[in-house]
Symmetry: C2
Amino acid sequence: MLKPSLKTKVTRLFGLENPIIQAGMIWCSGWKLASAVSNAGGLGIIGSGSMYPKELEENIKKCQANTKKPFAVNVPLLYPAIEKHIEIIIRNKVPIVFTSAGNPKTHTPKLKSYGIKVVHVVSSVKFAKKAEMAGVDALVAEGFEAGGHNGREETTTLVLVPAVAKAVSIPVIAAGGIGNGQAMAACMALGAEAVQVGTRFVASAESSAHTNFKRYLLEAKEGDTELVMKQLQPVRLLKNDFYKEVKAAELRGAKKEELKKILGRARAKKGMSQGELNEGELEIGQISGYLNNILPAAEIVANMMQECIETIKRTHRSLS
Amino acid sequence: MLKPSLKTKVTRLFGLENPIIQAGMIWCSGWKLASAVSNAGGLGIIGSGSMYPKELEENIKKCQANTKKPFAVNVPLLYPAIEKHIEIIIRNKVPIVFTSAGNPKTHTPKLKSYGIKVVHVVSSVKFAKKAEMAGVDALVAEGFEAGGHNGREETTTLVLVPAVAKAVSIPVIAAGGIGNGQAMAACMALGAEAVQVGTRFVASAESSAHTNFKRYLLEAKEGDTELVMKQLQPVRLLKNDFYKEVKAAELRGAKKEELKKILGRARAKKGMSQGELNEGELEIGQISGYLNNILPAAEIVANMMQECIETIKRTHRSLS
């Protein structure tokens, strides 16, 4: 008997075996993680937001050397060297680009003219419609529970995904709070055609997050992340000394300027790449409070698929 | 052919036709709404938190006169006249009690000794385990997107429900962000045995919310609610003048005392029952941003059931 599989508009759009996409994350998702996820039948994404152009190119080349399957690059549109990144992506024939944090109108037509598929990350119906108008092929609808930078509306995945799926006609990928097959099956019910998973893949053998950060996130308990810095760019952080400093400032009514000063520079690199758990900024999602192991990426994909398929069958059996 | 139905541990526990529970909500859910939902095959709940003992008793008697089906009363355990409420519930043979905001140990044994089924509302795995230990029959796991008072951990429904379902062996009811059958089906996938729906029933013909409040919540757009008052009891509010005053105070670093003064007394009554949209406190969930009609409660139940069943079938068809 054939193993059951889950084919959707997104698996067909990208040529994937499984509708699981590994989120492009600064300091955590280089070629190693991306190629491992792609080899496991998901879509691996290189997070270019923490890379100089030269590093991005190296990562793309190594990813290509390590997988024959589709992979993508995530590009934060506000990245200073964005033009250079786009050029490298085109030159190296990256088949898929995920864009976030910026206006999708600016680069989508160019990328598409080279046959590159473009997906844009949104946190509201309003921006979902704008991105569809800009001509992207699919959307990531990312909820409040996601790690890292996040929407101002604070709409959760459960509320956001059905609303976005209803408002647009292009495929929707759910993100935020998805770390197991139950949540994955739930997102398919909400109308998603795939899920994008971040935090669960930070806690993978192949993620480039510092070992200290990986270990610390396994210790996180429920409620140990919080969305802060809402006056600047809202970001979900794991609670540590740096978080406490930010939070105390916010509670005493600190203004933007003071918050910028506390944030300083290269805090995320310090925490997530260099493993400085007190001084560093640790971007992670709510599900970190419920994770308790580091697994190979392929096992994460296989477990989620199995749980998801079992969940869909179990839910269907409850109909009578 | 029989209409397909959804039978779960919760429909069996309470003797319901459908696994849809209408949340007990201050100023919005009296006997009229509760009996309408129960008559539609769901579980209606009288929200006693905004009622004097005498009013509660009247509501129970009218509910009994208007439905032969099971209904419940919601009791916030920190309510000042709690002993009186419990006495009235027992005397009037209310079959099911939902408790929230307090320690379930205190009243559960007494209620159970009268054959009353007890359900406790939690926002974390930690409190779910404690409530199970206290002997409750089922739990409501309520996420961050829910209206009104809310957990400090800010865990969303998508993240919370599978974690709670895994941690306890009693049935779990999902709450927060559920206003359509897609979200309902998603919650069944997450491991819930029923859903508790608040906001969607505020916007019902039978809800006792003031017409002004009902009209205003239909105008709400995405991002128009926010969880504030985190230093006191976190509460999700619809944005209005009162909200703005609270928010401005929080941004300038106001302490508990000042926030208490701004809150004052009877603000929720003013807003939700008396329809004073500027001065009043309007407690509502995130899905208010996506609602656009007032419907009879029976129609809400029927629509959600149909959408939920269709969603479960659609999701199952995507397996191959």
